[in-house]
Structure formats: structure tokens, C-alpha cells
Amino acid sequence: MGYSFPEEVLEHVLSFIDSDSDRNSVSLVCKSWHDIERWCRRRLFVGNCYAVSPAIAIRRFPELRSVSLKGKPHFADFNLVPHEWGGYAYPWIAAFAKAYPWLEELRLKRMVVSDEALELIAKKFKNFRVLVMYSCEGFSTDGLATIAANCRNLKELDLSESEVDDVSGNWLSQFPDSYTSLESLNITSLSSEIRFTALERLVGRCPNLKTLKLSHSVPLDLLPNLLQKAPQLVELGSGLHTKEVHPDLYSKLAGAFSGCKGLKRLCGLRDVVPSYLPTLYPICFGLTSLNLSDAPIQCPELIKLVSQCQNLQRLWVLDYIEDTGLIALAESCKDLRELRVFPSDPFGQEPNVSLTEQGLVSVSAGCPKLHSVLYFCRRMSNVALSTIARNRPNLTRFRLCIIERFRPDYITQEPLDVGFGAIVEHCKDLKRLSLSGLLTDRVFEYIGSHGKKLEMLSLAFAGDSDLGLHHVLSGCKSLRKLEIRDCPFGDKALLANAAKLETMRSLWMSACQVSYRACKLLGQKMPRLNVEVIAEQGHPDSSPDEYPVEKLYIYRTVSGPRSDMPSFVWTMDKNSALRSS
């Protein structure tokens, strides 16, 4: 037998390989590489917590230190996924508590995390360092108190966008005086009053604190003290509101900001008093990321602020910035890579600001590195979209939301097929796309032909027929996630492309025309898919098979149907009979 590579050498080589897909490739080389790789993999990413069971994950990777899990489908962000749908973290954490006593990091997204789960984390993982709960729910400040009291080596606690049952602000005091390892704290979603003295002491004794993102309830008066205790901050999130304007406070704040020489990222600024904005001017030049999407700052002040941030790479802002502000942005911020413009009045019938497609066109022309766009507006034209596409063929993420549904090109009254077609045609590396406005099947033809690198596609109120869905499923080779609401897509395209679904992470369809019969058929024929029907109005058996299901969530899995479904979710299985847990 020829010589073989000593395991230790291979392990050492593999320790330089971080990317999951590279590691997956390594594990396919031969049996012994598969075995060595699985023993030395330390990080795991599970994009759909129901695609695999904790037991299978643990069996394959016995020595993990860091796990990321995602639960609910993306449309849960917009209230389309019913409460109690699922995505429970507890079973995972309980299994990890037994298998990985040395687990250091947990990153959870759109999952339900109970206080019991947090308690397990606090008590079972001796070297726990990073807890990120993005858009999660199900826990309270009591759970946070247990984490604070027990995790001696905690570096990062991030609760972005999570719904926390805010029982009391005292949990922060549970960090013992001996605890000094905090590097990143994000508690923006908490609303109760926290003990400011506890916060100040915590900030003061953690010399490596780099990220501090605070909730709305932290008053302005406190900020200068905090900043003085943490001049090493790189990222800050804070309101700048105050009940009264003291001249004293202004200069204290200005001084404190100037002291933060390393500040690169700024967010929050809810209820900011415009007259305090100039305190930020000294740090603007150093900022690479600015998130003003919670800040009700209007145009002139906004332009003044943004035009001083010449090194800005990421800007999230409300549509108060208007076209004029975006033109100024395009002139000042040549390093801009990501722009998100959110609506200040999404439910208003009439535009409340002068923000149109022109703003986006200007930024696309002026910012050569712009590759990621999320833009809410009230009108669009094919010509503007084509211009944007030609200006920025380097776009990788393009999400456009025209607020009123079915809006055509405002100049020609045509559908926006051609415009979006230009986007997919010119932007060859486009990975993520969201469509809006008046769209026919034609746009899907373009997407199917050109969107070869497209991984995630979001559709709403678009298309004419099954042909549209067929174009997407048959043409988009790299598609992983497809989410659709209120489109006239039905059985034919879905059944004809059933095999495609096994190559994707998931498909969500709500308020479409997929019949119950087709769901049963799909469930029967495709055992490696979970075909979940969500029917809040009662058992789908109680109406004829050809009637459309309300909501459908299909995902590939190696674990079979899940066992934690609520009463209104059914998995179509191979017996084509309903099974609910």
C-alpha cells in the first residue's frame, strides 16, 4: 500500500479551511478524508433547522465549537408565518448540552428561544462566548439574567430585532464585578429601563468592549459618561433624544464623541434632536457604516451629516433623504457599497417625501462599488431600471419595493418586465433579487434565462400563469430560496419541477393556486422533501382536493417530517395521508 498522509498533517492543513463548501468538498474526497474532516470541523451552519436533526448533526460532527441555526422562513418578518409555527431552539440546545460541553458560540436567527433554553446555555457550556439571537422570540429578561450571572467568558451578547419579554432591567446587574470580557453588546430591542449605574460600571470594567448598541431607554445625559469610559468603541448604537436641551450636555457630548477616535459604525439615533447632530461631525469622516433607519432626521440635516461621511461603505436611511439627498450621497460617498432606503410612511396612500427612482439612478451612477441595494419607493420606470443595470453590473443584491402593488412603469404604463430583465441580464453576479410593481410572465422568462447565479428570489403580486414559475424553477441553476406570495402559480409548474426542489433549501408559497391534491402528490413522490401545508382555517381535508392551500412551505430534509408542528400545519407524506404531530 502506498504511503498515506499522516492524519495530523491533514488536520493541520484543514485548520486553514474555513468555508463550509470547501470543507464539504474535502469530505467527499475519500472515506478517510471524510472521517478526518468531520472530527476537526469546528463550525456548523444549518440554514434550516428542520433540514437535519440535532442527532444527525452531532453524529457527523462530534467536536463543534460554533453553531448557527435558522428557523422560520423569511416571510415571518412580515407576519405571514403564523405564531406557533415552530423553529424551537430548545431541542438543539439540549442535545448540544450533552454532546458539546465545550460549545462556545450559538447564532440563532428567527427561532423561538425559551428561558429554559437560555438557562441550559448558561449552565452547561463552561466556555460559552458568543450568543447572537437575531429576530428571535420566546425569552425574557429572566433568561438574560441567567446568562449574565453564569457565563464568565461571554464576549458577545446580541439581541438584534428580537422580541424580549421585558420583565425588568435589573438583569444587567447580574454580570458579576469580576466579569470583564464583554466585547459586544446589542440590546436595542429592550424597552424597559435598565439600571444605568450597572451599565456604566459594566462598560467601565470591560476594556475590550468594541460594540455597544443600546436601547431607546438610555437617555442622552448618560451617553457622554459611557463614551468616556469606552473610547475604544468601534460600533455605537444609541438614541440621542433628550427632554430638554442643555448647553452643557451639548459640549459634553461633542467632547465624548471626539474622544472616540476609532468609531466606525453608528446606528440608532431614534428621536434624535436635530440640534445635537453636529456633535457627530468630528467622527463622520471615520464612519464606514451609518444606520439612520430609525432616525426621523429630515433632509437638510441629513444631507449635512451624510456628506461628511466620505468613507461610508454602508448607509441605511429613511426616505426622508429624498432624491436630493441621494444625489449628494452619490457625490460625497464614493466608497459606498450598500444602500438601503426604508419608507417613513409605508401605509400612507400618498407620497410624503420627494423620493423617486431618480435617487437610486444617481447613486448607481456615482458610486462605482455599490453592489447591494434595498429600495422602497412609489414609482419606477423600465428606463430607470435599465440605466441602473448598465451603471452597476456589479450588483449582487437588488431588492426593489414599489409600495403600491401592481404599479406599472409610470412613464409608459407598461409592466416592469423589461427593466428587471435588464437587471438580471447585466448583473451577472446577482445573488439576491426581490421584485415589485406590475409584472407579467415575461419577467420570469428573463430571470430564468439570465439569473444563473441567483440564489434567493422574492416574489409578490406578480406573474400571469404557471409559466412564470416554470421559467424560474427550470432556469435558475443556483436557486436556493424561493419565496412567493399572491402570485397565480399553481400545480403544473410545481409538479413539473419537483426534482428541482431537492436542490433548494426551501420554497414558500402563500395565497397562490397550488391545490391540496398537488401537495399530497408532491409529498407522496418526494420523500426527501417536507411538504408542509399551513391551513389556519381548518383541516384541508374538509374542502375539495382541487382547492388551493393557503400556505405551503417545502424544504429538503434528511430527517423526515418534523414532530413539533402546531395544529394548523400538516406534512404530506408518502402515504398521501395527512399526518400531524
Binding site: F78, F347, R407, Y547
Partner: protein, 216 residues
Amino acid sequence: MPSNTADQSPDSGTTGMSLKDTELTLGLPGEAQVVIVGGKSCSKRGYSDTVDFRFRCCSGESSAKAEKVDWPGKEISGPGKAPDSKAQVVGWPPVRSVRKKALKSCKYVKVAVDGAPYLRKVDLEVHRSYQQLLMALETMFDCFTISSNDLEESKIMNPVNGAEYVPTYEDKDGDWMLVGDVPWNMFVESCKRVRLMKSSEAIGLAPRTPSCTSTT
């Protein structure tokens, strides 16, 4: 990557490609055939069936389920006229509820319907009157209809089982009241949660007085 069982030319790029060419192989015998008419497909079942049956309709939660949307075509009166644009559609525009909270002081309350296994949350701040709230509830819970926009006259009814519902709410003091008894702003201020109670169970609550207003 496994190829589709259907036969296709992926880059044909012509509108001539129709689903008929794709040889749908998972069709059951006797299943409705799809007829391709000018690039659109029309199910044998026909569009009218989907419209008539409100509660199984293609556009589920969206207010587009109302009479004016012409699936699969787009003959909508007026350029870009969205049907029923006044009513709020669940989840549209796609703004995260956390973000909505950031923009306004919002007042999310849970809404329960007797007999339904699920709760919804509704933001009272978004609506300006009882009519708007009722319309939003009708959109959110497809299982009932509201017979009139006038709160005093309206009946909330589940046509499937004929049950009538009465909208009630729990106020700050923990008392259960009938929705509509107080001016709208006062209601928003004091409402902690809403329950659509079956009429048969709402006997203990004070009957609506004829003089109460249903406008703000």
C-alpha cells in the same frame, strides 16, 4: 444536479415555449388539462370558481381577493390601479414589524377569535376608525365576513358554520367591553387585547347603545 423529468430547452428564450412541451409527468389520470392560450394558462376549472369561493381563493389574505383583481390577466381599471388599495394587506409593504414600531408609537394588541386555533396581532395605531379596524380584521381572518361597514349595523359572521361573532376587547382595568362603545381614540388608548366572541357567549356584556358612534 438532477435534471428535471420534464423536457425543456433552458435557454430557448422564446415565448413560444409552453408548458405543454414540458410533458408533466406527475399528473394523475383524469386530472384537469391545462390549455395554453396565448402564453397564459387557463385552468379548466375557470377563474370564476376561485372568485366565488372567497375562503379558498387564490389570493388568500390579500385584499386582492376582492372582486376587482382579474387573475390571470391584468385588466385592471386605470393604470396601475391596485384594487381595494385602502385596505391594508397583511405583510405588505414588506416592512418588519420591529421597524414599524420604530417609526410610530405603535399599539400592537393580540386578536383572538373564538374557535380559531391561532392569534393575530393588529396595530391599532395604523387604523383611524372602527371601520378600518373591522376591515383589517376581515382581511386577517378569512373565516368571517362583515356585513356592513357601519359598526352599529354590522354583523360578523362565519358563513361556513353560521356562527355570529361580537367584537369585544379587554380594557386597562381588565374589563371586557364591546368594541365600539367609546370614541376611537379612547379605545386605542385603553384596549389591551381583542376577542371576537361568539354571540352566544357575549350575553353578559352590555348591549350597544344606539347613540354610540362608529366614527372617530
